[in-house]
Symmetry: C2
């Protein structure tokens, strides 16, 4: 987990939520601006490098997070030690919501791409919700969003042949320009319930077929049409 010391080192400033450039996309979109002034709304943000674990499953904690940039994975461990990624966190997603109910995290949260994130205490959220009942709805929206994502995965990413799953994942990773950064093959495996080698074979095959074209350091241009054709079977 990130220790207090590490948080201090990774500290990137105090957030000014009332004037957040992406406030409309944040959890506090509908909270009154006067409730978000720094004196009553204390939120810090941090820059965390790839590989850092923000929190671990079972660990006690009172903060939830909003990812501003980069990417994270939420993962769980099985009794036999194997690992499964259950969600990817993208910019403007909230993670660690579970601390609103119980001060304990339910996943390991690990940075996949250098991240910028806001740390928000559960207490603050509860206080704001009391004065801004509309926030309850926004919180529920976030919960539903997480559930939708989980359901999507259950339907799309764990059924069908390995190459279909990999293709579906790649399509999901693409941005609006059809560009994407790949996960490590091991992470792909942990996400799709296949082995590292199988994930690697599928990716390599897509590269050879020209469906993935390298345009930089782990940046690829994707032939989303072709990949979708494979997704469908």
């Amino acid at each position: 987990m990130v220790t207090d010391t590490q948080f201090r080192e990774a500290w990137a400033g105090t957030a000014d939520c009332a004037h957040c450039p992406t406030r409309d996309l944040s959890l506090f979109a509908h909270v009154r601006s006067e409730d978000l002034l720094p004196q009553s709304c204390s939120v810090n943000h941090y820059k965390l490098d790839r590989g850092i674990t923000v929190y671990r499953s079972g660990e006690r904690g009172h903060d939830l997070f909003c990812l501003r940039a980069g990417m994270l994975k939420l993962e769980r461990f099985l009794p036999d030690g194997s690992r499964r990624i259950v969600r990817l966190v993208k910019p403007n997603d909230i993670f660690g919501l579970e601390v609103l109910l119980k001060p304990e995290y339910r996943h390991d949260a690990v940075v996949l791409q250098d991240a910028m994130l806001c740390r928000i205490s559960a207490e603050l959220v509860h206080d704001l919700a009391e004065r801004n009942p509309v926030l309850h709805r926004d919180i529920m929206d976030r919960w539903q969003a997480a559930l939708n994502e989980a359901d999507d995965w259950l339907t799309e990413l764990v059924s069908g042949h390995a190459r279909q799953r990999v293709a579906r994942l790649l399509v999901r990773l693409c941005d609006h320009n059809k560009h994407c950064s790949l996960l490590s093959r091991e992470d792909m495996g942990a996400l799709l319930s296949v082995t590292t080698e199988t994930a690697s074979r599928a990716v390599a095959e897509f590269k050879r077929a020209g469906l993935l074209e390298e345009i930089g350091q782990n940046r690829y241009r994707c032939d989303t049409q072709g990949l979708e054709a494979i997704s469908a079977g």
Copy 2:
């Protein structure tokens, strides 16, 4: 879906939520009793037979449900027509929560074992929440419960060999007496991402090995220890 006519036929009475025998386990556990009197809290309950579809994915709706007895599945369809079960609903679980945010269901909800359920309008929940802020917390608890279930499935039921998955499912289906009713092999397949035949082979093997002993019409006594050994690999 269940039409209004069918709901009328399946109608089993008006619920008296204030005196519900399982109120402590219900969504309204912490709502003031005076707010649950029949004149202000209109909830009907229904008896639905196996095979009935309560609602369909994409269908418009304003009611959520609490399952009192029996079992349901929540399923989704993939573009290619294949089917995946993403959750099982057990007594005292809430389903259809998503209508609190948007009047549209996100799964097909189908009765697996003859069910008794309460139908609660989203409007009622919103009204009660306004007067009983504590209800917000209970709603979030339900959302988190659904998410936990989804995550559990993502970690346990879709990884490992087919016989492991079937074994894990059977353990989950067992009640406190180690008794359970099996799903159809087709449903098991849709739930575990394996084919009907593979699910059947695993179940048949467990029967032969004495891990499942038939004690009645689709009722089995399970050797949970043995099944857990198989779950582990």
